[in-house]
Structure formats: C-alpha cells, structure tokens
Symmetry: C2
Subunit: 315 residues, 2 copies
C-alpha cells in the first residue's frame, strides 16, 4: 500500500504523520519548535522529516509530502510568500522539500488544507457552499462558494481572525487593531484575555508564566463550575465566535458551517456558540453549525496529506 506524508507547521510545533489514502493516521510525531523566519521554518521541517524517517521509518512507501503552512501560500507554484506581515520572503518551499526527499511535495495554507480534508472525508462532500472555521491557536476560515475555495488577489482570503465582530474587551491584537476576534476567542486570545481581565474577576484559574499558554481546557472546566473569570472568558469567546459566524454567513451565504481546531474539540464551546446564533441570520444555513466529524485537533494535518494525494492524482 502507498501512503502520504502530512506535515503541519503550527505556531510552536511541527506535526508529521504518515496517512493512508483513506485518511487514517498510521503514525505521527510532534516536534516542538521555534522559528524566526521562513528559511528557518523550512530547515526545521527538513530536519524533522529526516528525524521521523530515521527514528520511526515509514510503514509503507510514501508517494508524496503535503505541507500546511501559516500565512500566504501559492499552491500552484509551491511558493510560500509569507508567514507574518513582518516576515516576508517568498521561497520555493515545495521544490526545496521535493529535492531533499525525492518525492513530490505540495503545499498550501494550513486552514485551506483543512478545508480540503473536509471536502474529501467530511461534511464538505455534500455541499458546494460551506465555511470551514478553524479555532485553535489562531482563527482562520476557508470559504467555499459554488464549489470554489476563495483565495483572493494575494492568497490572503479567509484571515477572518482579524474581523471585529462587536464584542469589546479592550485587548489589542498583534495586527494593531483592537478586539479582533482572534484576540478574544482563540487559544491565544483566551490566554491574552485571561491575563488582561484577571484583576477584575475572582478565579481559581492557574496562571503559568507568560511563555506558557493558559490551558483552554482548564478555562472550560472552571467555567462549567461557575468560576467568574472563566465564565466571562467563555461568554466573550462564544459570543465573539457566534458573531463571527453570523458575519461570515452574511458574506458568503453557506448552507453549512463546519468548526474545527483545538478550541472546539471537546464539544463544549459549540453549544455555547449556538446559544448566541440568531434564527433570522441563520435561516439559510440549512445544515447548521456543526463540529467536524474528522478529528478537530488533527484536521489540518489530515488536510496536508490530502493535498499531497490530490497533487499526485492530478499529475
């Protein structure tokens, strides 16, 4: 049997997996990482892939490598434009990887990879108009309209973490604006808001030092137990995500909104979100707001492998 390699680059780690054509994860390994620019990220991915091969080996013969990257990616030419507004150096990422490992490499933005997984193995099979909303360390969306994934004039469509949605906490986003939804409702946002709101609410939440992110799972658990700060954090996050979803529904008129990512993985937040959804706004979203049936924590990794499969098949 042939397999495919999926790689995702996240804010603080690289995950590599060997995945079957049916989307089953045969083995995977997580590498903690820190990188300062795209060249160093590329070199860390190369090192990690070499380690994976030497320490674990492949179960089968991998046909191709798919990599999900942060930021702006040109999937046709395999070029990674940038990972951050401040770090911008277009590099021929796919070519560098395939030269190193002698198999074809395909790349795309991580959340756009996730949407591809949704189309191949998830709810996306049955709809031409859906939104895949990723809520993890950050927030981003893939919008599919009439069967086509929006990419934009500069491969930057779907960066919806930077929408303002009407929930005001008073936190500044790294992008420079106040109260972007990502600053309120992502893992990063929960961490930021918890520290910002700590003086104003009683809490039993554990605050690690600033290099370690506050555990969203702990925030959810304490919120359910009535902890005032955590209840406020969950209330803000769920209202902000509901408003984001309703904003996006007005823009692209999907029939299905599919949630993925670590923040929604345990099924708690989606129930809170649904309470804030307004029927008039949501009336055409006939399949509703649903949690992906694919593993919400690994969906972008599955997607990275899925673009490798599609890439090989289209050659």
């Amino acid at each position: 049997m042939n397999t495919f390699i999926g790689v995702v680059l996240e804010g603080t780690r690289i995950v590599i997996a060997e995945i079957t054509p049916e989307g089953n994860i045969m083995q995977s390994k997580t590498y903690l990482s820190a990188f300062f620019n795209q060249e160093s990220a590329l070199s860390m991915i190369v090192d990690s892939l070499h380690d994976f091969e030497s320490s674990q080996g492949w179960k089968e013969r991998p046909l191709a490598i798919g990599v999900g990257l942060i930021g702006r990616v040109d999937p046709v030419n395999g070029v990674w434009f940038h990972m951050d507004p401040d770090w911008s150096q277009a590099i021929n990422f796919a070519e560098a990887i395939s030269n190193e490992f002698h198999v074809p490499c395909f790349i795309d933005n991580d959340v756009k990879c996730g949407a591809n997984a949704v189309r191949k193995w998830g709810y996306g099979k049955n709809t031409q108009d859906f939104i895949y909303l990723y809520v993890g360390t950050g927030i981003a969306a893939s919008i599919v309209s009439n069967g086509v994934l929006l990419r934009g004039a500069n491969y930057n469509a779907g960066e919806v973490g930077h929408l303002r949605v009407g929930v005001q906490v008073g936190v500044r986003c790294p992008c420079g604006r106040m109260d972007c939804v990502e600053s309120i409702a992502s893992m990063m946002g929960i961490d930021r808001c918890a520290r910002f709101l700590r003086p104003y609410y009683e809490t039993r939440l554990h605050f690690p030092d600033k290099d370690t992110m506050i555990s969203a799972d702990e925030v959810f658990r304490l919120a359910r137990a009535g902890d005032p700060l955590c209840a406020k954090l969950v209330g803000n996050a769920s209202e902000a995500l509901a408003n984001l979803i309703m904003n996006l529904v007005r823009v692209s008129d999907p029939d299905t909104v599919i949630l993925g990512g670590e923040m929604v993985a345990d099924g708690f937040l989606i129930e809170e979100i649904r309470r804030h959804l307004q029927p008039v706004t949501m009336r055409f979203v006939t399949n509703g707001v649903v949690l992906t049936k694919l593993n919400p924590r690994l969906i972008n990794l599955l997607g990275a492998a899925s673009i490798a499969m599609d890439g090989v098949n289209s050659k």
Copy 2:
C-alpha cells in the same frame, strides 16, 4: 441605435431609464412607490413602465429590460425569491415582464447589478478580485473573487449590512440584532441613530416627522460645521464603514474596494472612512478604497441596464 431599459426597485421608489450600450442615460423618471409584497411591487413596476412608455416614449428601440430587485434573485431562471425575510413568495418576475412588454427581461439583485456596471464601465474592468460596496438606503456588497461574483447557496451572499463591526451605538436592527453596520452607516441608519442619540448631543439638525428620512446631506454639512450630534453620527458611520471594509478585506482579499450609493456620492464620507483604515489590514488592497467613477447615485440603475445588455448578448 438600440437602447436598453434599466429599472431599479428601491425602498421607496422605482427608477426607470433608457440607456445606450455605452452606458449613457438618455432619459429617466422616478416613481414614488409603496409596496407590501413582491406581487404588488411587480404590478407597480409594470404600471410605471407603461406610464414611462406612454408619457415619455422611447428615444430608440429598446432591446431588453433589466430589473434590479431587493433581496434574493435567481438571475438564470428570472425568479425573485424574496424581498424581506418576512415576505417570501417566489415569483417568475422576468417572464411576467417580458410577456407584458414583448421584449426579453433579465433580473438580478440591485447591488449585483451595480457590480456588473462596475465591471463593464468602471474600475472592475482591471481586476478579478474586488468588492463593490453599496452604501445608500441600506448597505450591501458584491464580492468578486477570481473573476466570479459570489452568490451563495441561496442567492443571499453579500448582505453585509448585517455584519457587526465593533461600533456600538445601542440601536436595534430590523433583523433583530444590535448595531448591524446598516443601522449605523446607511441613510436608514443615520436617520435611526440621529433620533436615538438626539437627547444626548446638542444639534441644529432638522428632525422631520418619522415618515420622512433625515437628510444625510444635511448631517454631513452640519458635521463639517462642528455640530456635535452630526459629528458623532459621521464619526460612528465612517468608523463602522472602515471596520466593515477591513472585515471584508480579511474575508476575500481584494485588490480594490469600490464604493457607490447615495451616502458616499458627495465624496465627503470616503475621506472620513480612509482615516480609520489601518495600513497592516489594507496592505494588499493595492488599488485602495475608491469612489466609483460611475454616478454613485445611479450605479445600480446603470447595472440593471447592463444585465439586460449581457443577457441579450449571451443569447
């Protein structure tokens, strides 16, 4: 020479014009109207067209009629689905008009007509990724991505007047949500906010009775003169529109944002909007936020004629 008839149905009026293939308006007439459902709107449009023909006559031989309608329209089958969430009765609008006047009739949503005019005669000629944002009685957008106009699963894409964008006044939108951008930054919104905020700010603004809309032109004039209420209204509206634009830029990543509609027609508001735009968010909008060179007050009417032209040419 042949001509085309453009018709737009707006909240309180019907405008009819005879337009050349180059987009010149040879003659036009405005009919004040009130209608309660789609059947009555159809019958008013039929009556108005008959009046136009008998009172003015056509300058040339009209080849087709194009009608821009409020709400959800299926342009392929000529079906008008609904004008309002509460009034929904799909009718075969195009067929009814073409049977009555013995020329082909084509229909679309009014703001989607406007985007077609932008592509045919305006800035849209040079870009595959743009947003046409209409700010008039209400607010809506046409989003073109990779050359394709977004329509959505139910012909409802682009109803962006109902986005929440982070400006909070405390007004309830007819849709049921608080502080939708349309309730703050459209002609309707200016009227609503002026009445709502009147007790809190000094002003020399004239308040007509509730059946007559407050003049946005007067609000702009007084704001420039330092009137406290009007300055607040313009400040809220321009910040809300800037936030709406930045939200939409994050969703679809256009290279151009084109404004049209009565609210932006005199060029004042766009300057105020630009002050609130943040460079990081706008960095890929390389052609900027521009006022349409087509008449901003008549752009949807031009668009109605333009869909008639395209309809005839594609047959």
